[in-house]
Amino acid sequence: MLRIGCGAGFSSDRLEPAVDLAERGRLDFLVFECVGERTLAFGHRDRKLDPSKGYNPQLAARMRAVLGPARANGTRIVTNMGVANVPAAGEVVIAVARELGLEGLKVACVEGDEVTHLMTPATPLFDNHDRPIAAVGRPLAGANAYLGVDAILPALASGADVVITGRVADPSLFLAPIVHRFGWHQDDWARLGQGTLVGHLMECGMQITGGYFADPGDGRKDVPCLADCGFPIAEVAGDGTATITKLAEAGGCVTSRTVKEQLLYEVHDPAAYLTPDVTADFSAVRMAETGRDRVRVEGAGGRPRPEQLKVTVGFDGGFLGEAGISYAGPGAAGRARLAAEILAERLTRKHLPANTLRIDLIGLNSLYQTAGLNAELSEDVRVRVALRSMQRDVCEWMLWEVESLLCCGPAGGGGYRGQITPSVVTHSTLIDRAAVTPSVRLLVA
C-alpha cells in the first residue's frame, strides 16, 4: 500500500492543510501541483524580468513549512513548482533546507520541458485552427512540453527527498511515485490508466474533498467545515486500485458525489484521456463508499500513449485594464446601464481592435452576459470595464474615462477602483517525443 497526499491543487492553494498532511498524513509522498497554462506563461514573464525568478512564488513558504515534518516522517515531496525556472527553484529548496538545518537533504531537478528554441513562426497551433505562431502577432514568451513519468522516474530512483519539475502532465506527478513503488512496466497500459485515474482525481486537491462542491439548499450539497477543508490522501494498492480519503479531523468530505464531479473535471472523451504516459480510459470506472470519507475507485483502463507530446506556447498578452464604478438604491440598474452606454460611446471612439473591450453590469450580468442571461432585481449594480491592449497608456486612458464618471456620469455613482495588470496569451501545439530530452540534476543541502 502506497499513501500519497496532495498538498496543492493549484498555484495559490492553501498552506496549512498541506502541513497537516506532512505532519499527520503518514504519507510516502506529498505532491504539490502548482502549474497551469496561465501560471506557466507568467513564469516565463517573471524569469525574463529577473533571471532568478520564474518558479512558484510560494515555493519557499511551502518548503519552509513542510520540509521538516516530511523528512521526519519519511515523506518524499514531488512538485512542479519549478514552473519556468527549475534550476532556480532547486536552489531555493536547498537554501530553505540549510536554513532549517536539514543537512544532506537531496533535491532532484527534472529539466528538459522547455522547448522554446524548437518553436518557429510556422509552428501550427492546434487550438487555434492550426494557424501558425506567426499569425498570433505577439512576442513569444516561452514554450514547454508536457513531460511524463519517464522524466520523473530517474529522479525518484536517485533517492531524492524532493523532486522538482517544470511542466509535466498533472497526473504524472502522482503516477510516477506509484510506478516507482510498484515497478510497473511503462507499457502496462491498463495499470498506467488506473494510476492516471488516481493522479487525475488527486491533482486538484480539495476539489475531491468537498471544495468546489458546496451549494447550500436542501442539504444534499452541504460540506462540513469547508473553512478548514482537508487535502486528499490516496491509498494505492499494487494493482492501482485506490481509496480516496482525508484526515479524519480535517473539514470537507469525500463521497461518491465529490469523486464523480472530479472524475470528469477538464476531461473531454472519458474513454480517451490523453497524457504523455497513456491513453487512459475512465469510461468504466467504478466507485464505492467503503466508510466515512472513504471512496474506493477502480476499473480504469488504458491504451498506448500518444506518439507526440503536447506543448503550451505562451505569448506576451500586453496589459489588462479593469475599472469599476457602482450604483445602488432605487433605479440603480438604470443608472448603471446609462453609465455603461456613456462609456461604450466614448471608449469606442478610439477605434480599439475587435474583442478588446467589454463592459459588464455586476449584479445583473457579470458572468452570463454572453450566455444571454440577465438578472433584473438588483439594486446594487457595478459597472465593470475590461480592456486588453499591448499599450499600457490605452489602459490608463480607459481607467481615467471610468473615474471621470464620478462627476460627469449618472447620479450617485461611487466606489471607483481601477487596476492594470500584465497579461499573457497561451496556445497549444504538438511535438515529437524524440525532440524532447528530459534530464535530472541532483543537489544536496
Binding site: G36, E37, R38, A41, D127, Y212, F213, D215, R220, K221, R257, K260, E261, Q262, L263, L264, Y265, E266, V267, H268, D269, P270, A271, S283, A284, V285, R286, M287, G317, L320, N355, T356, L357, R358, D360, I362, S366, L367, Y368, Q369, T370, A371, G372, L373, R384, A386, L387, R388, S423, V424, V425, T426, H427, S428
Partner: protein, 120 residues
C-alpha cells in the same frame, strides 16, 4: 428557458435541472466541459432524453461558438458536455470576469426539465 423540446404524454411539472442533478465545469484552452450527474439514478434516462447536445448549443448561441459533443456514463448516471470555442477565447484571452467559465455548470443547471407528475 423557452427552449423546451419535450412532448410529454403524461402530465408534467417543470423543474430546474439543479433540483435533480449536480454538475461541475472545467476548462482547457477555449473548450469548456460540464459534467452532469443525476442525484437519483432513476432520473438518468429522463435527463438524457431532454438534455441533448443540440439543446445545450441552442440555449447559448452567442456563448458556444463551436460544436457541443455529449458523452454518456450510464453506470454512474452521468453526462459530459464538451463545448468547443465556448470560453470567449479561454482563460488568458477572455475579458469575462470568469475567464475559466467555472460558472458554466450553473448555466446548465439553470435549464429546465419536465418531470412526470407521478414521479416520487
Amino acid at each position: 428557458m423557452s427552449d423546451d423540446r419535450s412532448e410529454p404524454t403524461t402530465p408534467t411539472r417543470r423543474v430546474l435541472l439543479r433540483e435533480i442533478a449536480h454538475a461541475r465545469a472545467g476548462d482547457k484552452g477555449n473548450t469548456s466541459n460540464v459534467s452532469v450527474w443525476a442525484w437519483d439514478e432513476g432520473d438518468y434516462t429522463l435527463i438524457k432524453q431532454q438534455l441533448t447536445a443540440e439543446r445545450i448549443k441552442a440555449a447559448f448561441p452567442d456563448l458556444i461558438q463551436g460544436t457541443v459533443v455529449r458523452y454518456e456514463l450510464p453506470h454512474l448516471a452521468g453526462l459530459n458536455f464538451v463545448m468547443q470555442d465556448a470560453l470567449e477565447g479561454g482563460v488568458n484571452t477572455s475579458l469575462n470576469l470568469d475567464s475559466h467559465g467555472k460558472s458554466w455548470s450553473y448555466l446548465v443547471l439553470g435549464l429546465s426539465i419536465e418531470l412526470p407528475q407521478n414521479r416520487r
